[in-house]
Amino acid sequence: MKYTLTVNGERKRIEADADADVASTLRAAGYKGVKCGCDGGVCGASTVIIDGEARMACGLSMASVAGSEIETIEALGSQGDLHPIQQAFVDHLAVQCGFCIPGMIMQTKQLLAETTDPSEQEVREAIDDVVCRCTGYQKPVEAVLDAAQRLRNDSAGIEESTAMTDGGTLDSGGERRD
């Protein structure tokens, strides 16, 4: 049957069985940033925001999300214009294989919508359901704390965070060598 959903602000009619898995359905509809790392509802890679709440899309049936507003990683910034959370992950080298990162960023987005100045413990609790095998969570936690700072600065009208300056790209080949 056909379900009407709002995905990333766009109304969509998506053909799927009532018990079809939301993550697979979103992926088939082209939202490949929704990742699947387990057999359903455990690893956190498929986390999207459904009606304002960060949830794993896998293990959920299409019938249970009929009419919902869904936000996926594709709704955030583009490669040329990253969302501040994405920028913080890039600047902190918090991404290795990247497979868990869309889910972790969506969890972060919800956390920072609710808590503008989270403690490290609150950050760890927010991403606790996201399995990351690469980083030991050290740099992702630093990135989320820095993203919170950037968003606070943005809302206070302060220029881009200068807290982390060592993650940028070199824009030239450097100075001449003697």
Binding site: Y31, K32, G33, V34, K35, G37, C38, D39, V42, C43, A45, I73, E74, L76, S78, Q79, F89, V90, D91, H92, L93, A94, V95, Q96, C97, G98, F99, C100, I101, P102, Q121, V123, R124, E125, D128, D129, V130, V131, C132, R133, C134, T135, G136, Y137, Q138, K139, P140, V141, D166, G167, G168, T169, L170, D171, S172, G173, G174, E175, R176, R177
Partner: protein, 819 residues
């Protein structure tokens, strides 16, 4: 203390038969391993001279990763409208023979494209190993793509391709398999006996490995020594210490499951888009297995969602290719998470015995390690991983004159093991570093000073690494930052001023451990790269090297940009596609930056030579006066310059003469310099309950010059997290039938974000003259050290030592309660 001679005993197999990669032993030769390396001038740059290497740089794939635009294997499904999905039917019994398979119901189902069973024409009958190593393969050929003799719960027996996953699952469930059951054995000590159920018959293995004795379920036996340990232990002035340690069966648990997409293209060539660490080895293995020319196989690696050794194994590719051939359409096989835990690969669980002879003043006269390794149902990496239990940790103490290592590698009816980050070194490091801590305590000596009296330093000729041949070789130590790793680690963890908690029952202690690894497999690596210049002064860099999420592509770009004097953004990197990139052994053994990175450096230098020729022509200056920097070629003498863009256009569109500026580089070496780690663990233990909190992990690593320091830190932190898991979690456990008891992440415990202690990674820079711009490896050595350091910390805090991993509150409590 350089050693000029060493007695070396390596066991080798019959002449002319692959002997498991064990090298021919040779006496170390000073002249062959000069301390002064003939290093190119441009390789040793002071921090001020570096424009790209060791500078902060964005990871080249990060923007697509954080926006969800990066493509992993499963994301290619949309390009194949006819794509079928695979499901594998696996043995439900631990040991037996398939006597009948009834697939008629499955074949009759709507939407089923193919069903394959062991006898099917599309299924190769050849025996092989899934190991994904170099050639000749140092693992036994003891398995088939689909098996009639099944040896563990999870052995693949049949497979289905269908139009969608649900249909594939239904069809797989409809296949009925009748078995003749055999006795099985799960415990490795019980298996290592002529009375135990035997897993392999006399003719069931080809390419057998040194020391095999299948009548006792032993796939290999290895030993090596220098000096005479037995004589040393009998001396009157020594005390002999013994201890025994055990390690978990750890899952790689990489978040992207093993995934592969197989099809045959319009040229009738077989293509695999696949989540692998070893594209070239996979291509060779598939060609051999399916008996097709190597030229007709293409293996292409997209983004990979983590590997850690698990994707060195060629686990899913043959099944997908066989299904695709049978169905005549593309097939995607994505393992389930349950298959990941039960039917892919895991770290070899081991019992390791350490024995040493030490004088009363703390001089170690002899050390030996013995490992009993459980390789599970098949033997991939069985011998080589076990070899590394000795050949990675023991060389750290190069001043010890008598050293011996021995290992038995045995089969059980349990899931398969394989390569995993650390590759035997974690098991050996637990035993060695735990043992040394115990000896130091027994003698009342500072554990750090005790180690310092025996550990490696620059100038040593290390014979221990080469004592068993194989994955080690004797080597000269040309960089060693151990002293500084220890000093900075102590400072960061607060070694000298630890505050005890106020509560009486709480006790805080710090434990430490050291580790060395290698950088690539000595004498058994090859990397290659090509670089081509575009008109606008940018470059395309093609590398066989494999980025599985480590940032290797970024390191390649930084190395190329350093040589070419351009911005990293001006280098487009294309890697790991066997049709389009040069040969590479792949991502394992901590080799990528060192081997493939050096190939990139050579390719860039080759291109630079041509660029300077063109610069010379355009500036009318001799080449000797010219260099590149800031995307220009400039003259030292006159200050005149020409941009790379001007050279780019002139070289391909010039009126008089034209040339496409190309560079190529290929690199292999006998060298495998060790990186070093000093680990510190700060723990608080409740002496009433045994409960403990790890307050902090500190690990200082000497990886030479870090090509990208933040990425190197990320490798260290991730490795230390994996090491922490080995210290505190159960890993994969098996039931009485050898079945993995964990099916999903909620059953496999590894430290989540809230359960993970803070990790402080410290980079200690040294200069390794054999590596690109002074680099050596980083990603494995911090995997080795948390289990011994935590065991030592608990001992320091409350006086008991846990030697069986994992360390749990129950074990500590039990030890505290012992009279």
């Amino acid at each position: 203390m350089a050693r000029s001679t060493a007695e070396v005993s390596a066991v080798t197999d019959r002449d002319g038969v692959p002997d498991g990669g064990t090298a021919t032993p040779r006496a170390p030769d000073d002249a062959e391993h000069p301390l002064e390396w003939d290093e190119q001038e441009n390789n040793d740059l002071s921090p001020e001279e570096r424009t790209s290497v060791s500078q902060p740089a964005e990871k080249v794939d990060d923007r697509k990763l954080v926006t969800g635009q990066a493509k992993y294997t499963a994301d290619y499904d949309e390009r194949f409208p006819e794509l079928a999905r695979a499901k594998v039917v696996r043995s439900e019994i631990p040991h037996g023979n398939v006597v009948d398979i009834d697939a008629s119901a499955a074949k009759a189902m709507d939407g089923v494209c193919a069903v394959i069973t062991p006898d099917d024409e599309a299924v190769p009958d050849a025996k092989y190993t899934s190991a994904g190593q170099s050639y000749p393969e140092p693992s036994p050929w003891d398995m088939r793509v689909l098996n009639e003799h099944v040896r563990y719960v999870g052995d693949p027996v049949a497979a289905v391709a269908a139009v969608d996953e649900e249909t594939a699952e239904e069809a797989a469930a409809a296949i009925e398999i009748e078995y003749e059951e055999h006795d099985h054995v799960v415990d490795p000590e019980a298996a290592f006996s002529e009375d135990a159920p035997r897993l392999f018959g006399a003719d069931e293995v080809d390419n057998e490995i040194v020391g095999h004795d299948y009548a006792r379920n032993r796939m290999a036996h290895i030993e090596g020594k220098i000096g005479e340990v037995a004589a040393a232990t009998e001396r009157e002035d020594v005390h002999v210490h013994e201890s025994e340690w055990s390690t978990i069966r750890q899952s790689h648990a990489q978040v992207e499951k093993h995934t592969t997409l197989a099809y045959t293209d319009e040229d009738e060539r077989h293509v695999l888009i696949t989540s692998t660490q070893v594209p070239n080895h996979t291509r060779r293995q598939l060609a051999h297995l399916f008996d097709v020319p190597i030229r007709d196989v293409r293996v292409k690696k997209p983004r990979v969602g983590g590997g850690f050794g698990g994707k060195q194994a060629m686990v899913v590719e043959p099944i997908a290719l066989a299904l695709s051939l049978a169905a005549s359409r593309p097939v995607l096989y994505e393992a389930t998470r349950e298959e990941e835990f039960g039917a892919m690969r895991s770290r070899h669980p081991m019992r390791v015995r350490a024995r040493s002879a030490v004088t009363a003043d703390g001089t170690i006269e002899a050390i030996e390690l013995y490992a009993l390794s459980n390789t599970g149902a098949y033997g991939s990496h069985g011998m080589t991983v076990a070899g590394n239990v000795g050949s990675k940790p023991l060389p750290l103490y190069s001043k010890v004159p008598n050293v011996r290592f021995e290992a038995d590698i045995v089969h059980t009816n349990t899931p398969q093991t394989g390569a995993m980050r650390g590759y035997g070194a974690p098991q050996g490091t637990l035993a060695l570093e735990g043992h040394l801590d115990r000896v130091a305590r027994d003698l009342g000596i500072d554990p750090i000073e005790f180690r310092r009296d025996h550990y490696m330093e620059v100038g040593d000729l290390d014979a221990i690494a080469g004592m068993m041949g194989g994955e080690g070789a004797e080597r000269r130590i040309r960089s060693c930052g151990l002293d500084e790793c220890i000093a900075r680690g102590k400072e960061a963890v607060g070694w000298d001023d630890l505050e005890q908690p106020a509560a009486e029952q709480l006790h805080r202690g710090i434990g430490m451990a050291l580790s060395a690894q290698g950088t690539g497999v000595a004498g058994d690596e090859l990397g290659a790269a090509q670089i081509m210049m575009n008109e606008d002064g940018s470059f395309h860099l093609q590398v066989g090297g494999v980025d599985i999420g480590t940032g290797a592509d970024t390191a390649f770009v930084q190395i190329a940009a350093e040589v070419l004097g351009c911005a990293p953004a001006d280098v487009v990197v294309k890697t790991s596609d066997t049709d389009n990139t040069p040969f590479d052994y792949g991502a394992y053994a901590s080799s990528t930056t060192y081997i493939s990175g050096m190939a990139v450096k050579k390719a860039a230098e080759d291109a630079k030579e041509r660029i300077l020729k063109w610069g010379s022509h355009m500036l009318d200056e001799p080449v000797e006066q010219l260099d590149t920097c800031g995307s220009e070629v400039y003259s030292d003498r006159t200050g005149a310059s020409v941009t790379l863009e001007e050279i780019g256009y002139e070289s391909v569109y010039g009126e008089e003469t034209r040339e496409h500026i190309l560079g190529k580089g290929t690199h292999s070496t006998e060298e495998s310099p060790p990186p070093f780690a000093a680990q510190f663990v700060d723990v608080t233990v409740n002496e009433e309950t045994g409960e403990f909190d790890v307050n902090k992990l500190v690990v200082a690593v000497d990886c030479g010059v870090a090509i990208n320091p933040k990425m190197a830190e990320g490798q260290i932190e991730g490795a230390n997290h994996m090491s922490y898991e080995m210290a505190v979690n159960e890993g994969i456990t098996v039931d009485s039938e050898g079945r993995a008891e964990q099916r999903d992440y909620e059953e496999y415990s590894f430290p989540t974000a809230t359960e993970s202690p803070p990790i402080e990674s410290i980079l200690v820079e040294t200069h390794e003259p054999t590596g690109p711009f002074g680099a050596k490896s980083v990603a494995e050595v911090p995997t080795n050290t948390v289990p011994p350091a935590l065991s030592n910390a608990v001992r320091e805090a409350v006086g008991v030592r846990i030697t069986d991993m994992p360390i749990t509150a129950e074990k500590i409590k039990r030890a505290l309660d012992e009279p």
